[in-house]
């Protein structure tokens, strides 16, 4: 039987190859953070404290969209199309298959974060990340938490037709209240409390420490890391429970 590591590598390469082949999806995947950076960079042009908010905000949004949004969509699609069921009937271990999907998503996260970091250096006067450790730790924990929550959300989506409504119904309000586009301090108190209990605001909080000079180190964002970690644990439980290889059938 082929070894699991080799199978995982093959599965990952296959997913990557097909990802690039779907050109419009690949294009928008990488253009989106750039468009947001360009738009908000123009809006708050010359105001460094605003720029300091936008860059980690877009970085956090990128983590969420490449993992949470992408996996919720993909799994709903693969489940509805019967791809998951077909794979389940082959000797490919389920964990290897899902690992390939996750690595594919994480690769997109890494590319988007790299784009944001380079744009921060070139256009937003941020320099290279002052605390790379904080950046790496928060990206890793954020990716894990949001990927698992995306898997969990896919269980709640009844069909691929309704996926955009459900996914955007979660994604858009969360990015609006979590300080992606403005400092979360400007959000009314009760909304801020909600945002701080959700995973995106703590992620952006930690990414700010990693990306923006004089906003603390990893040690200064431990509360945020803890909140994100709790969401990660939640994500594991919700993703594993109720995982289904098949679309719900009417009959």
């Amino acid at each position: 039987m082929p070894s699991d590591v080799r199978l995982l590598w093959r599965q990952y390469r296959f997913e990557r190859r097909l990802f690039w082949r779907n050109r419009s999806a690949a294009f928008f995947n990488f253009l989106l953070p750039l468009i947001f950076l360009a738009l908000f960079g123009a809006i708050v042009h010359g105001n460094q404290s605003e720029l300091d908010v936008i860059v980690p905000g877009i970085a956090g949004m990128s983590v969420m969209s490449t993992t949470f949004t992408a996996l919720a969509y993909n799994l709903t699609f693969l489940r509805e199309q019967g791809v998951l069921k077909r794979i389940r009937g082959t000797p490919l271990p389920s964990g290897v298959y899902l690992g390939g999907l996750a690595l594919n998503a994480v690769t997109n996260t890494a590319i988007q974060i790299a784009i944001v970091v380079v744009a921060g250096r070139l256009f937003f006067n941020l320099g290279w990340p002052p605390h790379p450790l904080a950046l790496v730790v928060f990206v890793i924990v954020g990716v894990a938490a949001f990927a698992l929550l995306g898997v969990a959300l896919s269980h709640a989506i009844p069909s691929f037709d309704s996926a955009p409504a459900v996914v955007n119904g979660v994604f858009v309000p969360v990015i609006l209240i979590s300080g992606v586009f403005f400092d979360v301090k400007h959000v009314p108190g009760f909304l801020r409390a909600i945002a701080q209990a959700l995973p995106l605001e703590p992620l952006i909080n930690g990414l700010t420490g990693g990306l923006v000079p004089r906003h603390g180190t990893l040690g200064g964002h431990l509360t945020a890391l803890a909140v994100l970690g709790v969401w990660g644990v939640f994500g594991v439980i919700l993703a594993v429970r109720g995982f289904s290889w098949e679309a719900r059938r009417s009959g």
Binding site: M1, K85, T90
Partner: protein, 290 residues
């Protein structure tokens, strides 16, 4: 040595299999065996319990009760070795739409310890002209042939075919039947579910008629229903040319009486025929809602 020993036991053995979904009993205690190299058909109307039965054997569903053995394994435990020896053709299986036919087959081949050649399987499925086309450009019939090719790529001993020709036009159906017959020549064991009678009659060595979660009759398609209590139908035209049909359990005696009487009157029995109930008659009788 192990393989030689293993090949003497049946490919599939099912005893008192039961499956309930909450209150609904979909499978209510069925028994059957499928021998090595046999094409076995589960024939029944929609909702008869065919798919539940097959999905338990494929390892997709847990059974409620009973015992099941597939190539000597319990499919409920989903052993990887069993999945490497079984090919599954699903009723509706999606596939990577941006990959080509050859790419998908080469990728799936990498899952198996001893796969068949991609080119060979493409030829077997009749997809040579589509080998470098993306799967999303395939027609419905070509997609089903790719389904078959994907089930064969691992060189399985046992193949599950769930409603393989549902929605096919007559020509595509003939083509699929030819492909299924070629599996017999390869020495494969096939478990086929269908709600088409002619399909079961055409392809299966043995058929089980299933309804309401129970097997109502089992046997070779031409033997089904032959036995005690079978009604033969004797039709003839009498001396006045009136068509007459008589049903009997004992055609020998009836024919003797009819022909004897006709000879005594100096008449001929025209349009004489004796017919055994067809699989269709038996199927309709058994599955009719009483």
């Amino acid at each position: 040595m192990m393989r030689a020993m293993a090949s003497t036991e049946p490919a599939i053995e099912v005893r008192d299999l039961r499956k309930s979904y909450g209150e609904l009993e979909a499978v209510r205690g069925i028994d059957f065996q499928v021998g090595r190299g046999e094409i076995y058909g589960l024939l029944g109307p929609n909702g008869a319990g065919k798919t539940s039965t097959v999905e338990i054997l494929e390892g997709y569903r847990a059974r409620t009760a009973g015992s099941v053995s597939v190539l000597g394994h319990d499919p409920g435990k989903r052993p990887r070795e069993l999945r490497a020896r079984v090919g599954i053709v699903l009723q509706s299986g999606g596939i990577y739409s941006h990959a080509t036919v050859a790419e998908v087959l080469a990728h799936f081949a990498s899952f198996y310890p001893r796969p068949r050649e991609v080119a060979e399987v493409i030829a077997l499925a009749g997809l040579e002209e589509k080998r470098d086309e993306r799967t999303r450009t395939l027609s419905g019939g070509q997609k089903r042939r790719l389904d078959l090719a994907l089930a064969l790529i691992g060189d399985p001993e046992l193949i599950f075919l769930d409603e393989p020709t549902t929605g096919f036009d007559p020509a595509a159906r003939r083509g699929a039947w030819q492909a299924i017959r070629s599996l017999r020549e390869l020495g494969k064991t096939v478990l086929l579910t269908t709600h088409y009678l002619d399909e079961a009659q055409e392809l299966a060595d043995r058929v089980a008629i299933i309804k309401g979660g129970r097997i109502l009759a089992e046997g070779a398609p031409h033997e089904l229903g032959v036995g005690a209590g079978t009604r033969y139908r004797v039709a003839y035209a009498n001396g006045n040319g009136e068509a007459t049909v008589v049903e009997t359990d004992d055609p020998t005696q009836l024919l003797h009486e009819l022909t004897g009487a006709a000879l005594a009157r100096g008449e001929r029995l025209s349009a004489l025929s004796v017919t055994r109930p067809s699989l269709e008659d038996i199927y309709l009788e058994l599955t009719a809602d009483a």
